[in-house]
Amino acid sequence: MKTIFKASVALPAAISMALSMTAMADIKIGVGAPLTGPNAAFGEQIWRGAEQAAKDINAKGGINGQQIALVKGDDACEPKQAVAAANQMVDSAKVVAVIGHYCSSSTIPASEIYDEAQIVSITPASSAPSITERGLVGVFRMAGRDDQQGQVAADYIAKNLKAKTVAVIHDKDTFGQGVADTTKAALKAEGVETVLYEGLTRGEKDFNAVVTKIRSSKAEVVYFGGCHPEAGPLVRQMREQGLTIPFVTTDCTVTDQLVTTAGGKKYTDGVLMTFYPDPRNLETGKAVVKEFRDTGYEPESYTLFSYASLQALAAAFSATGTTDGNKASEWLKSHSVDTVLGTKSWNEKGDLKESPYVMYKWDADGKFGQL
């Protein structure tokens, strides 16, 4: 009787021990990205990048002998859902770090939750200046900042396109309007007048009214702060209304989907955008790019940024020997990390010390190339 009693107590205890052992054996890292919704194409890039990085790091023995396990957090690019996903990753999944998010409007509320939980988060894509301007300790980015992006676009519009008047259009989102505002300010500093400043609604497809307005504003260049689901129809409707002036936009259109949403290569021909130099051409990333291509996946735009983010996290955790968020942030701010994107280091705010944006142009074949 006694032994049976003991066994019945011991068995569940052993099981729960075993469960907690496996849980301890993995370092859980969250990936917060729009895995569904209109921006799911970018969410997939971020997930694929992190997935491949985890696989590679695990194959080399993981972090301090522990394997990385990734946890999905789908924010659908909705601030509310981002908060829910962040809470779920922190509270239920007990992640020790997060790669994410994609949309700035998601990164901002989610990062506050990570900060409260004192874990490190690295966004591979969000570029709103305010993300790292709020004094949060563990927030880093692998991406550039909108003010840098807007500056490059404004320089190009003023010096290369030699425009005197510009129409600035945005999509009323944190990212789109943020970058439009920084561009507008930079343009003003260069002596270019913004003759039209309008917002359009994300999710809509008919921007003919705005296009007609651009036409009557006599602007010489259109700058659009927004993403490809709206940029495509906007540029198409401009061309359909006989408006052939240059169209300059952001790095949020860096996907062949721009051609799809515009309805053809002839509409995207000549579209200009700011983006980082193609990470796929970097010497440091050759091996990883090949790995991706071997699995039949083209590591477009943010894939490698996500890969590099996990490399940075792994480096910080390995070097400090713990998964303590504060120690890791301190380490990241005082050391540099070799990633697939080259050697990266961060300043006190968590911004990359150097982040070069360059101009890209779409050609008649529906491809984009660095200028």
């Binding site: 809509e204 008919d206 009214a209 359909e240 309805g263």
Partner: protein
């Protein structure tokens, strides 16, 4: 002046499309007094069907525009009609005699199911079709000009023809008569030998078909759509239906046109940021002075 006319053209094309989708809301409301919240998704599915049909037809080597359009319209309208029928069977028929709110919730459920079904089966990426109808009409107005693409002219024509065909069907055919009878008094129609269950199904099919027509037209015009495309346009079309008087067919079309034109003109003259604020304020104003909408019949309490 040229700007005003251009905005008018912009608004009319947008509005005619709103109107076509609004018909689906208004017909279903007219006959069973419910809002079919899955209707936006019906439109979204028809956009996918149109793209599939265009792709298949061009794969078969059909390259004349009228043939492609005819084939696409027939295929899309028929298959979308089947979706409409299925929605009625799954979400409405089993709940025919339950509380008024139950079918509302089940329709929202269907709408989510359809959205996710399309997202999973077709992917979350933006989809697109190539431009089928090239060419633009350029009209000089004063010292400016107005540009109207041939696609837009086609949309206006197709929307008008679709509306006329539907009006003829409702006013002058046996099916239309049965629809109107069921709308006026379902129980009495039943007593007189009309299979009202079947009529309700037909109404869903007709509503879905008009949504399909809109889906094909929008896909032609904008060339791009995704699984989420039905949401915003569904809300706008619903607004158009209420504006024109829900339950009234000409009201739906008129509401759509008013909504489209007011959005475009307001964006043009004031600010595109607040165009939705403007159109919804317009809706509120109209409902204050005419609670039944522009062409709706006032609600008579039946004794």
């Amino acid at each position: 002046m040229d700007t005003f006319i251009q905005q008018l053209v912009n608004g009319l094309t947008l509005g005619s499309v709103y109107g076509l989708i609004a018909i689906g809301y208004t017909m279903v409301y007219g006959i069973i007094g419910m809002i079919n919240f899955a209707h936006g998704e019906v439109y979204m599915i028809s956009a996918y069907l149109a793209a599939i049909s265009i792709a298949v037809l061009s794969f078969w080597g059909v390259d004349s525009f009228p043939l492609i359009i005819l084939g696409t319209l027939i295929f899309t309208i028929v298959v979308t009609g089947v979706y409409g029928l299925a929605i009625e069977r799954v979400a409405y028929k089993p709940l025919r005699n339950s509380t008024r709110l139950a079918p509302l919730i089940s329709a929202i459920g269907i709408s989510l199911v359809l959205q996710n079904y399309v997202q999973i089966s077709q992917g979350a990426r933006q989809q697109g079709i190539p431009t089928l109808l090239e060419g633009t009409l350029r009209i000089s107005v004063g010292d400016g000009f107005v540009m109207i693409t041939h696609t837009k002219l086609f949309i206006l024509a197709a929307a008008i023809i679709g509306m006329l065909a539907l009006t003829f069907m409702i006013k002058s055919t046996r099916l239309g008569r049965m629809c109107r009878a069921t709308q006026q008094d379902r129980k009495m129609s039943q007593i007189l030998g009309i299979n009202t269950d079947r009529i309700i199904s037909y109404v869903f099919v007709i509503g879905a078909s008009m949504g399909a027509l809109a889906g094909v037209l929008i896909t032609l015009n904008y060339g791009t759509f995704d699984f989420y495309a039905g949401f915003i346009i569904g809300i706008k079309a619903f607004t158009a239906a209420v504006l024109g008087g829900i339950g009234s067919l000409p009201g739906a079309m008129l509401g759509g046109l008013i909504l489209g034109v007011s959005e475009a003109q307001f964006s043009g003259m004031v600010n595109a940021d607040y165009k939705d604020v403007f159109s919804f304020s317009l809706l509120v104003l109209i409902l204050i002075f005419r609670p039944q909408g522009l062409l709706g019949r006032p609600q008579v309490t039946k004794v």
